[in-house]
């Protein structure tokens, strides 16, 4: 299976945040949901792919090309949607097309206007007056009109109403139908990932917590609940985000340790939201243990 995007041991540090050895790959023809809480490094990773952030070390390949050396060639084949409109808000759709068209060798005016019509966007109105959903659709129309093979979306669904979100996800699903194109979209709305993503990469604190197919993640963790006394010490060590309260405890557990779980404890499948929550709890726990040790 050909990878349309490959990131190997990406490191990038700022004064207060760092990406550490981020590695994952996205095969052609699939959608990858890129999830993590706010500040986990999703946007920095996307900016690194786009060469908007200068990486400290590691390698990023898009279409088999180097993201730094071949950045211009890559961007010819890349569509990008940010959470806010990056186009001139005082211009109309037509004027924006006039601005962007000359930069793309494969710009297709017919396709652009057909998408604008399909998305129900007015052509002569200031794009700044569009709703958030309309702005998203405009950025997608731009991406589709230069025949982008990979679409990267940074938090495209945040702030959208359920109907607009649903439409957007349908557009993404349709986009990869020919199996030649891929989508990487970052989000913290995990329901969107559950709905359309084939692959998931989960970031936490600048590190990759999980990367793989949605099915792999689906069966990877369970929630563990019960009385604290029924939890063996050895198993407690393996728990993620352990939280004790007056009547018992809850935690997340890797399914590889399921055979160690006593019958008295209850297990249930963890969804993506829950996985994110327990990862965050674990990180907080580790942090407080470290400061206690100091």
């Amino acid at each position: 299976m050909e990878n349309i995007l490959e990131i190997k041991e990406l490191n990038k540090s700022y004064a207060d945040f760092a990406l550490k050895d981020v590695s994952f790959s996205l095969p052609r023809g699939y959608i990858m949901g890129f999830v993590g809480e706010n500040g986990s490094g999703k946007t920095t990773t996307i900016r690194s792919i786009l060469n908007m952030a200068k990486i400290d070390s590691g390698k990023i390949s898009v279409f088999g090309l180097d993201s730094i050396k071949d950045t211009v060639a890559i961007k010819q084949r890349l569509g990008v949607v940010f959470d806010s409109l990056y186009l001139a808000e005082h211009l109309s759709v037509r004027q924006i097309e006039q601005q962007l068209m000359p930069f793309y060798s494969e710009w297709d005016t017919k396709e652009f206007h057909s998408k604008i019509k399909q998305f129900g966007l007015p052509e002569d109105k200031e794009v700044g007056s569009f709703s958030k959903g309309m702005k998203m659709k405009l950025m997608i129309a731009v991406a589709l009109s230069h025949n982008a093979e990979l679409m990267i979306l940074d938090e495209p669904t945040s702030g959208l109403d359920p109907v607009a979100r649903d439409e957007l996800l349908d557009i993404l699903a349709e986009y990869i139908e020919d199996e030649k194109r891929s989508v990487l979209f970052s989000t913290h709305i995990t329901a969107d990932v559950e709905r359309v993503a084939d692959y998931i990469t989960m970031l936490h604190g600048g590190r990759v917590w999980f990367t793989g197919t949605k099915d792999e993640l689906d069966g990877k963790y369970v929630l563990l609940k019960g009385a604290e006394d029924d939890l063996p010490d050895a198993l407690r060590e393996k728990c993620i985000g352990f939280h004790a309260y007056r009547n018992g405890f809850d935690a997340m557990l890797d399914t590889q340790y399921l055979d160690e779980v006593p019958d008295a404890l209850v297990t249930e499948k963890a969804n993506i939201d829950e996985i994110l929550v327990y990862i965050a709890k674990e990180a907080r726990h580790e942090k407080s243990s470290e400061s206690d040790a100091v």
């Binding site: 908007m52 211009v72 961007k75 010819q76 186009l87 808000e89």
Partner: protein, 234 residues
């Protein structure tokens, strides 16, 4: 070169167009007012016309500031250095075009003996007008290139407020130079003209050299900016 032209086109559409075309109409009106003023032959009006062209760059900063174009520059299939180069090229070309237009208009005004205020020792005849236009061109291109360079280096290239202050500073400096010339504290254009080579050929060579020198200053500022911004993140 194609990318530079595309980027200049991009900037011009941003600066001069709006969804309702009201902005385009406003620009045409401003240009007409300045052209009419220049037609009446006052040197200060010529300065105003130059500033009018400089004003074209102000909306660019405002638009870029408002729209977060840095994100767009990070997405477009062009190297970022070309975005910088296009801004400098736009300054040079728009002021060069302005120089030609202002020379033609003021020469026409001179030929038609359109009424002017008493500026007899200030600008006399078409040859002095040409010198005057070249001088203003060289001053504004150099000053604008330098200020653009400083704005980019300090990350203020998209800040409308800073750009307006810069333009106001340039206008005041230009106005002060005119005033000092008018008061004969500095040599007037007529006196300056006497200092030029005697032959027409000599003068034209001097003007050509001045243009090349101005282009060199603009290119040097651009190159320095590109070098300084090599590690900038968008």
């Amino acid at each position: 070169m194609k990318n530079l032209l595309n980027l200049m086109r991009f900037d011009l559409i941003s600066a001069t167009c709006s969804a309702g075309n009201k902005q385009t109409a406003a620009y045409i009106l401003i240009a007409l007012v300045f052209l009419i003023l220049a037609f009446f032959g006052m040197p200060l009006m010529m300065l105003l016309l130059f500033v009018g062209v400089l004003m074209l760059t102000a909306p660019l900063q405002g638009i870029a500031e408002k729209n977060n174009f840095n994100k767009l520059y990070g997405i477009l299939p062009v190297p970022f250095r070309q975005v910088v180069q296009a801004r400098f090229l736009l300054i040079f070309l728009s002021l060069f075009l302005c120089e030609i237009v202002i020379f033609l208009i003021s020469s026409l005004s001179e030929l038609l003996h359109v009424y002017r205020f008493d500026t007899s020792d200030f600008v006399i005849g078409i040859p002095q007008l040409l010198m005057f236009c070249v001088g203003i061109f060289a001053f504004f291109v150099s000053a604008m290139s330098y200020s653009q360079m400083m704005l980019w280096i300090h990350g203020q290239e998209n800040e409308m407020k800073v750009m307006v202050y810069t333009m106001a500073g340039l206008f005041l400096t230009g106005g002060l130079i005119f005033l000092l010339m008018y008061l004969h504290i500095l040599p007037s254009p007529a006196q300056l003209y006497q200092m030029l080579p005697e032959t027409t050929g000599g003068k034209l060579v001097l003007y050509a050299v001045l243009h090349v020198l101005t282009a060199g200053i603009c290119a040097a500022c651009c190159q320095h900016t590109v070098k300084k911004l090599a590690a900038r993140e968008l």
